[in-house]
């Protein structure tokens, strides 16, 4: 590859890495500032994954001129794929456990459709009066 092309790729890679690191910082700030578990889960799931994907793109652009082979690119794609697949699953399981064990703040919820659904399943008891959330 020509020198100019490598320089352009390097600048794009640095830009991707910079934006990715900034998004990681956003995730950290949200983790400290947000009030309860569900909103923290939002910041841990979305900006973190986007930042990591941008960093992976940056690594690919930095490595591509030097190492030509499918192995490195394949590893990067696999890491991105695993993140995109596993982070929503982990967030879903953690938020489900938090809801069922009562570790979320009800006063911050705008709407709670799961409580209505659980009440329906239990036979019409209003959500505030069911004994617990082990439905």
């Amino acid at each position: 590859m020509s020198e100019q092309l490598v320089a352009v790729l390097d600048w794009i890679a640095v830009l991707c890495l910079l934006v990715g690191a900034a998004l990681s910082l956003v995730a950290g700030v949200g983790l400290v500032r947000f009030p309860d578990l569900l909103s923290r889960m939002h910041t841990a799931a979305k900006p973190q994954v986007l930042g990591l994907l941008l960093v992976l793109v940056g690594i690919g652009l930095r490595i591509a001129p030097q190492e030509t082979g499918v192995f490195n690119t394949g590893t990067l794609v696999l890491v991105g794929l695993f993140q995109v697949l596993t982070v929503p699953v982990a967030g879903h399981i953690a938020s489900r456990v938090a809801y069922r064990t009562g570790r979320i703040r009800d006063d911050l919820l705008v709407s709670d459709e799961l409580a209505e659904r659980i009440a329906e399943r239990r036979g019409g008891a209003p959500p505030g009066e069911s004994g617990d959330r082990q439905a």
Binding site: D10, A13, V14, L17, L18, A21, A22, S24, L25, A27, G28, V29, L31, V32, L37, R40, M41, A44, Q48, V49, G51, L52, V55, L56, G58, I59, R62, I63, Q66, F71, N72, T75, L78, V79, F82, Q83, T86, V87, V89, A90, I93, A94, R96, V97, R100, T101, G102, R103, I104, R105, D106, D107, P127, G128, E129, S130, G131, D132, R133, Q134
Partner: protein
């Protein structure tokens, strides 16, 4: 360009520091599991930045392993919390109903796991 690499390192260090702060503040074990997850993702990003700076592809398998370990750890902590809560719930209902619903349960859950 060196300035930009240093800026990337500083941003990642700050992110790791903030998630460590949440790890220490708590208040419940699920918050801590979540912050460990973010910490692992920051480590992934940092190792990736190292690979990009040095054009060194030999650390890429570490990224693969770390991403899977983060998933397994957060899911197993969640399952542990659910099972322990179920045990407490069974004991509590045997003793005649211990826990109030709704917001009271939320406050109770946070206090119990501080």
């Amino acid at each position: 360009m060196t300035v930009l690499w240093i800026a990337i390192a500083v941003l990642l260090g700050l992110a790791a520091l903030l998630s460590t702060a949440r790890l220490m503040l708590g208040p419940s074990i699920l918050d801590r599991a979540l912050s460990v997850d973010v910490l692992v993702a920051s480590a992934l990003t940092g190792i990736g930045a190292y690979a990009a700076v040095n054009r060194d592809p030999s650390v890429l398998p570490i990224l693969l392993v770390l991403s899977l370990i983060g998933f397994v750890s957060s899911v197993s902590v969640s399952k542990f919390v659910a099972r322990r809560h179920l045990g407490e719930h069974l004991r509590g209902s045997a003793a005649g109903g211990r826990e109030g619903p709704g917001g009271a349960a939320g406050a109770d859950g946070r206090g119990r796991n501080a």
